[in-house]
Symmetry: C2
Subunit: 425 residues, 2 copies
Amino acid sequence: MTENKQDSLKKPLSRREMLKLTGVAGLGLLIGGGGAGGLMALGRKGSSVAAVEPAAADKGLPFYGKHQAGIITPAQDFICFAAFDVTAGSVEELRRLFRDWTAASAAMASGQMIGEHNTTLNTPPTDTGEAAGLTPSRTTLTFGVGPSLFDGRFGLKGPKPRGLRDLPAFAGDALDPKWCGGDLCVQVCADDMQVAFHAIRNLARIARGHAVLRWTQEGFQRTGRADPAGGTPRNLLGFKDGTGNPDTMDAVLMDQTVWAQPSDGPGWMAGGSYMAVRRVRMRVEVWDRSTLKDQEATFGRHRDSGAPIGSRGEFDPVDLQARSTDGQPLIPATSHLRLAKGDGSQLILRRSYSYSSGLDAKTGQLDAGLLFISYQRDLDKQFIPIQTRLAKSDKLNEYTVHVGSAVFACFPGCKQGGYIGETLF
Amino acid sequence: MTENKQDSLKKPLSRREMLKLTGVAGLGLLIGGGGAGGLMALGRKGSSVAAVEPAAADKGLPFYGKHQAGIITPAQDFICFAAFDVTAGSVEELRRLFRDWTAASAAMASGQMIGEHNTTLNTPPTDTGEAAGLTPSRTTLTFGVGPSLFDGRFGLKGPKPRGLRDLPAFAGDALDPKWCGGDLCVQVCADDMQVAFHAIRNLARIARGHAVLRWTQEGFQRTGRADPAGGTPRNLLGFKDGTGNPDTMDAVLMDQTVWAQPSDGPGWMAGGSYMAVRRVRMRVEVWDRSTLKDQEATFGRHRDSGAPIGSRGEFDPVDLQARSTDGQPLIPATSHLRLAKGDGSQLILRRSYSYSSGLDAKTGQLDAGLLFISYQRDLDKQFIPIQTRLAKSDKLNEYTVHVGSAVFACFPGCKQGGYIGETLF
């Protein structure tokens, strides 16, 4: 394909349209080129590439909007999470990076190839190609900035949010710096792992010279295909995770619990949300030796139904006062459910994924667990008090260890023509 | 649920039936128990657990048969691969392990819970539960034994196959022991990552005291959902991988290339296949800086169509004699395609998956690449000569490094009532 041909295209190519064109271009090269008319005529005869369009339902999720996608968006099947350290020397450079990231992200969310000159032979492709031909797969890309970005290196337009600082040391933390912190983060979620990987890899590539990867973590839930009824996903301890989440369809509740409000300050975060991320390793081998009774007492829920102990349905109201015939609380004092719930005044939106990352080098046991992610309006008032209670008393701590930790201020969304981060940079 | 109730069940529970029963059992505990009749009456009123049955199409793939599933089975979306070291002291113990593994594998392949007493409260659950409610997801579990199992520790019924030995050192190998070898292996493939993880984790659990995990690797392809047309998957360098595979529907060809024949010896391997597995890290950052022309010359194929250079369709015949107008071979001498093909006499069945495992600790770059797996009737005549050529001259070596390696003799299949490995143990 010549640049002339490419330049004549007025709109971006979808990952499927590109395939059809370049299938023809390959032949064009063989027969020594030729006019576009000739190429198109050959194209109509068909190519080896199936011309199946993406399923009608899969046009991708909107990238632009008041809020960033990927926060109250129903969780996709996979995550690729990346934290970056900035190497850029100026806020102008950061601004350029976020403009480029925004353009690439909007393209990827709608299943388009990145860049306009994918098929120029004598330059590196602008898109690395491993997602070519794949549907948008509900891809969302969610960007945030960590506390360290406000260390004075950049003359940022907005101030550091009051609550944006490294989390306090919680009891039992066993943090490894290789899974902690970051100046920037991107949470990519998609219903396809290859599509999610493609996004992180291309964002890292675009960042070259301006930011470097600090840590990454892949994760998964059960796929929608394996669970057509769409129940609450189970974590790797076999229990449902996310039952108590606030209703993301309740806009008032989301304003109260997830979205930073203008009155919260700083202004650049209005419509954004604060993310807490924890890499929680599960000692699955130890867990697997515990009895079902102990396991249910640990979570405060029945394993199979997900119901609070003593109740029947997963979404039955949690009655913390209920007692068994011997006078003991049905939902034990040290259970995860009771401690996470507290007096019910602190809500967070959990959006976690399981991970499995081979074997732990030190113990030879499975390095598997939960990439815990929560969004909240205020870390100090929501995540931190909850995690303080859990770290102190949660029976689940016998089976888990927190090895990674970071917080990020995730920007509000932006309109087409704008860019993510424009309120700050 | 009481054991009486459990014992009255004549057939194994599917992962979805179990959910319905235990949703009721939770309530049974609350109201102080009661007869099965009472429980069932409550059950009919419905529970919070959706009673949706798995999609009719997803009854699972057969586990039993002449050959093990997972070899010529069309590749599923995900893999969890595990190599084990045996700690058992006798062949009787190995036999018992494989009997237990076989029963558990047959259950998991058909979407059933492992074991008969899942819901006894005072013992650890026999199934770890994270796949409860999920469909079988085309799960296959494929078992093999490595050369080290024949080191004299066990009085095995059959001899070590002539060709079952560690692969020779290939040019450029940078093997790390942590991704090499193993007395046993299990390749679990499924269309759901959580289902695949569940299988490896439960097999490791069943093996406790008899075998320990040596290394594991998770992998993925694009999902079927993101590629409804089902084209050849792309690797993380953006090129299609597996185009030249032999036709698995051609039974004669499979006997010639994949299945060990009785005349090959030893008898216990007849109907089995030899697996080569290589963890191939891709230097994606370096690759991403190379031009499309270089990339296509490296593979010998057009990136977008997958066609051999100079051809149009992915499956067009590969013409190694074709030359451009300047007399150079269209498919370069050092291209992966030309070297892998050789004179065409050596065929292997590739069944590889991409992997992404965070960042490499040494370089800070993405630890991503290919979990290369191939099946063949004879390693000496098929994989080894191909890999020797590739290791010596493949232009792709500029962008890849082999960091893990193992070979396994994968058993023939078995009938219901028998067990995998019965021909050897």
